[in-house]
Symmetry: C2
């Protein structure tokens, strides 16, 4: 019922700020997640010195409480499901019942599952990450960092509560990520609810999990706990609303078939816990009673206490607005950067790392005086992000999986771009051989010049299919060109030929 | 010991040529495999009439005796191996011993495996294929087709032995594929050896399979029968010689670890069968005694008896030389086409189908008088193949799998193109999460303008990773551009970021 892991892990006093050999660095980075680590590596490679400050575990949200443990947990069901769909392998899994139809519900081994997840989460210790950073010459400090002036960062030791001030010669980088928005719902605060951190670090399978919110996190956790045997109720306004509508519809059908109770178009009015049970009251006056409630309703910038207001950089909790080099717009002289979730551009690890590579190149170029308008104008320069609104890829590990990149027709419409779509079933030797009875769906979005600007794939094991579309979008490729790109037979990638052929007649 | 299936299936007299309603078609296509079927569909779509002639089973080699059954057979081991590499799933396979180390040798269920393969091979019947062709308006005839004059095809009924002559108003297309080259080895003829057809249609696992030839087919069959429990000896001059050298080396190590006896740099001098055993004598004076011998030493054009010499199109058994529209170079007036394996350009189903789409467009354009030099000059026109020597992709379903596209450095060198390579281990969260202990290797080949011209991936489940590289090659993309293409986290596609980062420092 209670959280398995504390919300904030206060790190043992292994690298207190008071132990730092220097009080001046070329670059000071607050936040040791993927964005911070990648920025640090980039500036070090450029010959600068760097200090990386982390208030919890070096590595950040992703490896301990987000993408990595969630995928470690979801993977076992994926492989058992696929094995169940391949003759010759299926018969080796005959310990499984087929009571849930075809393919049978995967029955994973829970001890094996927790063990794998704990291994990927490094048992929630960051020695490995710290070692990696120090091995390339990054200094590290455990403590709470805040911007305390121009090019100045104060780091509070969690144990002594004292602040140590350090100076950045070239840049301060805010890479503190995002944090859960807990909605203001009557009774929620006292209901011992689960956060996404609890859901991915759990060692228990709730009898009845109620999931509030059906973005990627909510949908993945509903998938996981359904597969692990929980009764699951998923409550949200809509399901995967950032994707094209067909995605939400497919996942809703799949959830329903798997026994997940999907309640859309509803809001929670109040919550009350009574011992082991929790009651969730809904806007249609109905009530759901479960044993655990997961809040996965959205995120905000993790900037509380960082005193960014003092330099007029941003309001507490609001996304920090940046330019295409990740430089904070509201601060003059270009010394403050915001990289990753905290700038609100796209809350994904791979985009955080992309932005961090960009910021690293920009900071190094500025420090050398080579970051001028000519550099910025150079088309593929590494210190400026491309108009990646058009090419951001995302994978969601529901069952079936979802992978998408670029723009949806709705997003394009908002930008005044006229589009047409090409949609096909993933039906061909490559998918049939992959798994008997395979079903999948794919869609391309093209602009009026027949350039590819978006793509979506829904089906088992599709997450690696999207990268060819992302590549084509960045390359500015047209349908004419794509027609000549031939995937090897027999593979799932054949869907690209199916799309090309369908585009001819659409 | 004997072949499970006859080498030539003489089809029941379901569609004899004498029953044809017409003796004149716009297009007559000899060979009903992927190349012939796809050409037929293309010309029908363009408003022409088409006759498709097949001497064995409509569908051709691929669905009955090649790619499809071989992958149906190989897939079960793949999924069991991966399930064994994922905690939570592995424990569900505890019926498996781990005597072979980590991951344990997959133990597939043979009955389930044969059943799946038979389903994919449609029990070696072609009703499904014939129905598909007829449903889109293609006329079909079972019989042996040969070119008997300008725009003339004679079709011999296998049963009556009588020939029926048909005329093509616009084009004759030879799409008869390729056939095994049986080497001249003393004693081989009388040794009741296996062809690749036998290997993929077998219902027995030989005690000791000797495989002669280590191209894609030989390597895949060695993989399969090793996994099914045969002792396997693989004899060849070299292993996967068309790939970059690292591939052959990796697969050799993997074979050796799995217990396959790999003998390279050797030739077979003679063969002798003695009852259930077969003795293979080698050029180093050694001898291997097994229970079955698979000949997988190469292929030639399947044109025997097609009287192509009579119109000076090609020599019997030699590849038919074509231009980039698949039009036969040696024949004037452009009415004869050769599509697929038979032209020797690249012996792969997906390339056969690509060529067939090209030929279909070219034939339709010519019939409309719109196929002139202007059409051909238009850069991405669908009636002319792109310089696909640079972008042909291939997947090989060994363990680990191999996927490659474009040029190797050696091929580029022959073309006078200066290259450099970028090589990386596939090591990152995406691969670790895919399977515990995952190992993989990837390489990019770039030209002196930093354009991508080749790529290779070796590792489990890599066959869908190559398409993004093929896309980039066709799009003429540079490393600068590729740096900005971000794969979703955590997926195997992250290897693209690893390659981009390595390219910066190479």
């Amino acid at each position: 019922m209670s959280s398995t892991r504390p919300e904030i892990i206060v790190h043992p006093k292994s690298f207190p700020p008071s132990d730092l050999q220097s009080r001046t660095y070329d670059v000071v980075i607050i936040g040791g997640g993927p964005a911070g680590e990648t920025t640090a590596a980039g500036v070090i490679r450029g010959g600068l010195t760097a200090l990386l400050v982390e208030s919890e575990l070096f590595g950040g949200e992703c490896p301990y409480w987000a993408c990595v443990p969630s995928k470690a947990l979801l993977r076992a069901s994926e492989v058992i499901t696929i094995a169940n769909m391949v003759g010759g392998a299926r018969q080796r899994l005959e310990v499984l019942t087929t009571k849930y139809g075809e393919p049978p519900k995967p029955e994973v081994n829970l001890e094996g599952l927790w063990e794998r997840r704990d291994m990927f989460a490094h048992d929630w210790t960051d020695d490995f990450q710290v070692k990696g950073m120090r091995s390339i010459g990054v200094d590290v400090a455990h403590g709470f960092g805040r911007v305390c002036g121009v090019k100045k960062v104060a780091i509070k030791d969690w144990h002594s509560k004292e602040e140590v001030e350090v100076e950045a010669k070239h840049a301060v980088v805010v890479a503190t990520g995002s944090t859960l928005i807990v909605p203001s719902i009557e009774g929620l605060k006292d209901s011992a609810y689960w956060t996404p951190r609890d859901a991915v670090s759990a060692r228990e399978v709730p009898d009845h999990l109620i999931v509030l919110g059906a973005g990627a996190v909510g949908a993945e956790m509903a998938t996981l706990y359904n597969q692990l045997g929980s009764k699951v109720t998923l409550i949200s306004n809509s399901l995967l609303p950032k994707m094209v509508p067909e995605v939400g519809e497919t996942i809703r059908e799949s959830f329903t078939k798997a026994g997940v109770d999907v309640k859309l178009g509803l809001k929670v009015t109040s919550v009350s816990r009574e011992g082991l049970n929790i009651k969730v009251f809904l806007s249609d006056n109905s009530m759901v009673e479960g044993t655990q409630l997961l809040i996965a309703t959205g995120r905000r910038a993790r900037t509380t206490g960082m005193t960014l207001e003092s330099i007029s950089a941003a309001t507490e909790g609001a996304w920090i607005e940046v330019d295409d080099s990740m430089c904070v717009k509201a601060v003059s002289d270009g010394w403050l950067y915001a990289v990753g979730d905290v700038n609100g551009r796209a809350l994904m690890t791979h985009i955080a790392k992309y932005q961090a590579r960009i910021a690293g190149h920009a900071i190094v170029a500025k420090s050398k005086g080579t970051y001028d308008s000519e550099v910025r104008a150079k088309e593929w320069d590494k210190s400026v992000a491309k108009p990646t609104g058009r090419a951001i890829a995302q994978s969601i590990f529901t069952d079936p999986q979802v992978a998408a990149c670029g723009l949806t027709p709705a997003e394009a419409d908002l930008m005044g771009v006229k589009t047409r779509t090409v949609s096909v079933q993933m039906s061909g030797p490559g998918t049939w051989l992959h798994a008997d009875g395979y079903k999948g769906w794919a869609q391309w979005v093209v602009d009026e010049h027949d350039r590819l600007i978006g793509a979506t794939f829904v089906g088992r094991d599709v997450v690696d299919l999207v990268h060819a579309s992302t590549t084509a979008i960045v390359g500015g490729m047209t349908l004419e060109q794509m027609w000549h790109v031939t995937p090897p037979f027999p593979t799932m990638s054949e869907v690209y030929t199916t799309l090309s052929e369908a585009a001819e007649t659409t």
